[in-house]
């Protein structure tokens, strides 16, 4: 017997703010796709798709414009929040968000990111923290935790050679222009749902004109961590939660 799949009968649909037929190019087990989808769901919920200008960054997130069904401009490495500031200040009626990795946001782009928060830009910034430079093959980054082995910290991150990792959500929360700063994770269904709520709030503060909205999302990178997807999520729980505690740091 043949059954017909009707769109109106589907209980799990592709958000309108994701391009139809989107196939994420991420490695198996990577959380990026979940994060992008959550952002798209929130854009749908607030009916923002048609008034959104997204700003993509450099790294695994660069092809954001291939996935989100909104207008999008690519910023040079680290400069997403400067570009987003230019967009928003000359188009105050538009919804503007950046989607960046931790290297883009908190290493090469730390000045741009922090000053956007200090200026209280009415922009939402989503930062994926996978404790490594994913696109380039897993080098040590600003969020690589102490002891973590990467391709450029072969014996593990130590304070002598590499110093300490940055706790992004906590730092952004210290900026007076920040209206909302939080850290979520995508390791379990429950945490995915919680993270979606955080993203929602980060957009809400923009819509209300309250200032900078920020969510750091702990994300798996099975390829560069040399782990299975399950092991990767286990690592997030076992190794990252203690360094990067989940929660709301400013609201």
């Amino acid at each position: 017997m043949q059954t017909e799949t009707r769109n109106e009968n589907l209980i799990f649909k592709i958000p309108k703010s994701l391009k139809e037929g989107t196939k994420f190019p991420f490695c198996p087990g990577c959380d990026h796709g979940v994060a992008v989808r959550l952002v798209a769901e929130i854009l749908d919920e607030f009916n923002l798709r048609e008034k959104t200008i997204a700003v993509s960054s450099i790294g695994c997130s660069v092809m954001l414009y291939d996935w989100v069904n909104t207008d999008c401009v690519e910023a040079p490495h680290g400069r997403a929040l400067a570009a987003a500031t230019g967009v928003k200040r000359t188009n105050t009626d538009k919804c503007v968000f950046t989607y960046q990795g931790d290297g883009d946001f908190a290493s090469i782009g730390l000045a741009e990111s922090m000053h956007a928060a200090l200026r209280g830009e009415n922009i939402t910034a989503i930062c994926i923290n996978n404790t490594t430079y994913g696109m380039t093959g897993g080098q040590a980054g600003p969020t690589t935790i102490m002891g973590q082995v990467t391709t450029t910290s072969p014996t593990g991150r130590n304070k002598e050679y590499y110093g300490y990792p940055i706790k992004i959500a906590e730092q952004i929360a210290l900026c007076e222009g920040t209206a909302f700063a939080a850290r979520g994770s995508l390791d379990t269904v429950l945490n995915i749902r919680k993270t979606k709520e955080l993203i929602k709030k980060a957009f809400e503060v923009q819509l209300q004109g309250l200032g900078f909205g920020f969510v750091e999302i702990l994300s798996s990178c099975p390829t560069n961590w040399r782990m299975t997807p399950q092991e990767s999520h286990e690592r997030i729980r076992k190794e990252l939660f203690s360094v990067y505690p989940l929660g709301v740091y400013k609201e």
Binding site: A82, T85, R89, K94, E112, R119
Partner: protein, 351 residues
Amino acid sequence: MTKKLTKGNYAIAQAAINAGCDGYFGYPVTPQNEIGEYMSKKMPKLKRAYISAESEIGAINMVLGACSTGKKAMTSSSSMAIALMQEALCYIAADELPAVLVSVMRAGPALGYIYPAQGDYNQAVTGGGNGDYRIIVLAPSTVQECIDLTYKSFYLAQKYRNPVTLLADGLLGQMMEPVEFKDYPYPEIPNDDWALTGAKNREPRAIYSLEAKEEVLEKRVNLLFEKYKVIEENEQDFEEYLTQDAELIVTCFGSLARNVKSAVNECRKQGLKVGMLRPITLYPFPVYKIQELAKKTKKILVIEMNMGQMVRDVQLAVNGKVPVKFFGKAVGKWIEVETICEKIKKEIGNG
């Protein structure tokens, strides 16, 4: 219209406002601080964007963002700080965005000092970004031209969807001259077929430089160069002075042309057949005019307040038809009329 005594930097800022600049993003560096200061007073009153950026890198990327939405945006800076903007300028060129950059040169290399100089010809014309791209460069020589060419910068940026640099120097930025602020004389160029305005009742648009398919990337670069060819055919601009019968033509750009013109007048009084050619567009370089002059003059003398930068473009255009000589210095007292006269006489004497 009455003339108003105006400082070069203020003239540029007011002209940008008249041209409809929607957003100014800048970071201080001498000798162009008056531009940002002026904008910080005027732009908020006009309900336009003004931001004291965290750095020149921040400023030029704010321009990138604003321009991607079809808004007219600019930044201004100087020399070593323009160096910081090269990456984003390259993106802006690749993205075909209509950005305006005002570059008020100081003396280099590196921090150098705030003395006026013309050492950033190469930086402006050949640029410091990666890959194949071009930036339109206009060089004023008077405060009036600072206004007129600021207007033209915004127009050409929109017309060709290409970054434009207005290349002034500390002398022009800081000097006062009587000027006339005419209205912005150019038509507005529609941008509704490309600007990011939100995907309402149309497909989403994306502006980016990443291109993973090599044949598509090659095509994109070729399309850029088709555009550059049109710019080179249509936009070469220059000032020609007493070249008709000139046996020696002095070529110079920017504010140095003021002294060169005086020197040419002086030499003419003494019966010397000398003229001046001043490229106004440094890119596209006025090669056709130089090629034409190279057929009838005997020698070309290039004078610059640098160690010899534009001279290479002159040599390329002349292509060995007549000798091309150079005189210049990197910094210090602006090359004086008497010195230029001496150089002219020496070159004419040398045949």
